[in-house]
């Protein structure tokens, strides 16, 4: 790896009245990465983020953001980090611009500078035309975008986004995900929590799956899939007109093939590497009509279901 760690937790634990919400969590997020914190409701995602920001004190263990201890130096962390709460709230009686201005004031950004930035950011999130309308006239989607503007305005080095797409329609989700992807291109490290798999799959470079406060698995997406479902192997599916036991034998002889299973017309082959070329050659040579060969891509769904069935 060798990359600089932005977020690092060591045995981070939080207990509320006897129930352990976050349990010895070790989390590592490298610089310039989009990290997805996945887990069902109540897995401890929000609590983890709150502890990283120093808003909640951990029962034991430590959380560090850019090397600053979140519990002891929360102000330094808050200067570097932006936070989008799950249920983002604005002052309804103020306009979008005034709401953002309040944040720039709290961050000691000068008036002239903040004027420029607010314009720019409202443009970027696509609600520039609503700048002077009071927030109570905003739809859920617009509020969410304003929430992202609210994070961007302080130019954070790391942004914690808690369920950034909750309650949005598909179009809104797409726009928010695009914004997140852009943010990461501009050099912001992002930690986002979600229970929606495909979103995480779309924008995140690596993910961590939380279940009952424990980190079940952590790593990059394809790494995870192989590790989780095929114990580090590839899985290739071959569909033929009529599979025969001889074919199975032939395939079994190819170097690197571990296991061949027959399911109707499908052969599921577990291999050490991507052997699609070799396998299709063997099938064609054996005289059986080949319909398709594909490598099984592990979707997050598979990974997710596996862990939650186990958990």
């Amino acid at each position: 790896m060798g990359k600089k760690l932005v977020v690092e937790t060591k045995d981070l634990t939080k207990r509320y009245d006897g129930t352990t919400v976050v349990d010895h969590l070790n989390l590592h997020v490298a610089e310039n990465e989009v990290f997805g914190l996945l887990g069902p409701n109540g897995a401890g995602k929000t609590t983890t983020i709150l502890m990283l920001l120093g808003l909640t004190e951990p029962t034991s263990g430590s959380a560090r953001v850019y090397g600053f201890d979140s519990t002891r130096e929360p102000l330094k962390v808050k200067r570097l980090a932006g936070y989008l709460p799950e249920k983002v709230g604005f002052y309804d009686n103020l306009t979008a611009r005034e709401n953002l201005r309040f944040i720039t004031d709290l961050n000691n950004i000068s008036y002239a500078e903040s004027n420029r930035q607010i314009e720019q950011i409202l443009e970027a999130v696509g609600i520039a035309d609503m700048a002077d309308k009071t927030v109570n006239k905003f739809s859920r989607g617009m509020k969410q975008r304003l929430g992202i503007a609210d994070v961007l305005i302080k130019k954070p080095k790391v942004a914690f986004l808690d369920e950034p797409t909750a309650g949005l329609d598909p179009e809104g989700i797409n726009q928010v995900l695009d914004l997140i992807a852009n943010l990461s291109k501009m050099g912001t490290t992002i930690v986002l929590s979600s229970h929606r798999l495909y979103e995480v799959q779309r924008v995140c470079h690596s993910i961590g799956i939380l279940s009952k406060g424990k980190m079940v698995v952590e790593g990059s997406l394809d790494e995870l899939g192989r590790k989780a479902l095929a114990e580090g192997h590839y899985r290739i599916e071959v569909e033929t007109a009529e599979p025969s036991p001889q074919l199975v034998k032939i395939i079994n002889k190819i170097a690197g093939v571990r296991k061949v299973e027959t399911k109707g017309n499908m052969l599921q082959i577990t291999t050490d590497s991507d052997l699609r070329a070799e396998i299709s050659k063997a099938v064609v040579q054996s005289g059986v009509a080949l319909i398709q060969v594909k490598i099984h891509e592990f979707s997050l769904d598979d990974i997710y279901m596996k862990y939650f069935h186990e958990g």
């Binding site: 709150l50 808003l55 909640t56 249920k87 709230g89 009686n93 309040f102 004031d105």
Partner: protein, 297 residues
Amino acid sequence: MTTILRKELADYFTSIRCFILFLLVFVASGVALYAAYYGIRGPISEPGPIFVKLFTTGKENIPSLVTFIALLVPLIGIALGFDAINSERSSGTLNRILSQPIYRDNVINGKFLAGIVTLSIMIGATMLIVAGYGLMMIGVPPTTEEIIRLFIYFISAIIYGAFWMGLAILFSILFRSLAISLLCPLAIWILLGNPIYNPYISFIVPAVSNSIGTQLMIARISPYFLFQEATMVLLIPVWRGWGLLTTTTTGSMLPNPLPLDQSLLIVWPQLTSLICLTVICFAISYVVFMRQEIRAT
């Protein structure tokens, strides 16, 4: 902190709530002025400085300005404070503010200060209106001593209001529901601070003890009673306070007004107690708020 103070003040001054409170306060001062004008023109009952009588004289059924202030100031305090923290919590803005690089106490300090500023403006405006119109009506200018008395009264009214606001803020920190955080301080106000019919002073205190001394001691738990005593001593210089002298001695005394320093001497314990109650209220709010965790819901 100035940012939060500024924002809170802007909120207050643009809110309908404050508009209604201002309206209420101005109507009260108008009524009190009317009462004082006709009250003063009647047969003069007590000697002493005339100008402060504008504030303490009522007419038959219409109460004086100080009664109005004693009635309204706690209500204004409660109205300004009861949703200070829990409305921010429920609207999700508290998390947003606390994730900014500011100290947590800035939030509560800013809110408290903004409330005190609003309260001061309301009380100050009322008193100035009555003083101004009163001056035109009766044509007797205030002496320096009267001005000082009125100023000290103004400060003690702010402290009294700050106590109720602090209490309301405390409940807004403790309870998430707006209804509870409004009803709790109101219930306490009805019991202890209500000048119309105060169940604590007119019922509980006499039931506990027969001796005037003890009764006074117990009655002084009520911030209303303390404020009332302070008001009387400050603005009715002839008045000597409860319990200091027996009826027989007061009866044979010449009803001369006390000089300012003597009045202050009498009222000093009341004022410090009021300040103390306010500080305690604020300190509890402060500690609870600082220790309260932001939780995932």
